[in-house]
Subunit: 143 residues, 2 copies
């Protein structure tokens, strides 16, 4: 019991440490943060989308979404304009430049991922993904 608890603790600590180490490395490798690339990726898939809908997809706080998009707009990667029919909505879309740049980002991301999983077999990757998905669910429903 107490022995297995120590092992379980290691799992949780490992998850935590992986994140702390991944975040900066991901950014230095790809040139963009994971969150921001996720936002761009969602924009890449559609012609335009409201901030609200985008927020639901990436599932981070509204405030963070607003700030990221403003900065991406400043960098000219994204275009934002209000819906004339309902001025509460702000629609966001990728600029041409954004659409070009994201391709490069995604290549770097793939390279990064390949490195992180390079010694995992196809079978192991499947197992791992399933386990992580279960953990995610367990966290969500916890309490």
């Amino acid at each position: 019991m107490s022995n297995s608890n120590i092992e379980d603790e290691k799992i949780i600590n490992r998850l935590y440490e992986i994140h702390r180490r991944t975040a900066p490395k991901f950014e230095s490798c790809t040139g963009i943060s994971q969150t921001r690339l996720e936002l761009l990726h969602e924009l890449y898939e559609v012609e335009k989308i409201s901030q609200r809908a985008l927020q639901k997809k990436v599932n981070i706080d509204h405030a963070a979404v607003t700030r990221h998009l403003k900065q991406l707009e400043d960098k000219g990667m994204v275009i934002r304009r209000k819906d004339p029919k309902d001025q509460r909505f702000t629609y966001v879309s990728l600029s041409e430049e954004g659409r070009l740049k994201i391709i490069h980002y995604r290549e770097e991301k793939e390279r990064f991922i390949s490195g992180v999983l390079h010694d995992f077999s196809e079978e192991e990757r499947k197992t791992l993904l399933k386990m992580l998905t279960r953990i995610q669910r367990n966290i969500e429903i916890f309490e």
Copy 2:
């Protein structure tokens, strides 16, 4: 190839999302953040330790360690004093109160971990830990 890449991406995204969801839930369940509990845990194991040595153990930035310890000191959980022999070093130890409180924190942490891993067999936990350890190593040596 491109198909497996999508799956690999899910793994990395899952890891990221797990962290984002875990952090606040961990804190609301246990009453303390994961990092801070880790610091306290290390202090629990020893009579006293220099900040530098502690920093190496938990492996987060010096600055963060300093700030955490100052706050823990303000809360009366921790005692800090300079080494008279070498004034560069600050030695940290748990206060009596800290030593008492940490017990409760750790119980809550165990409860949390049990919840997160409740549907994992002993075998699965072992597999998962091994995989996470490999990933962590891959990230460290990457590039």
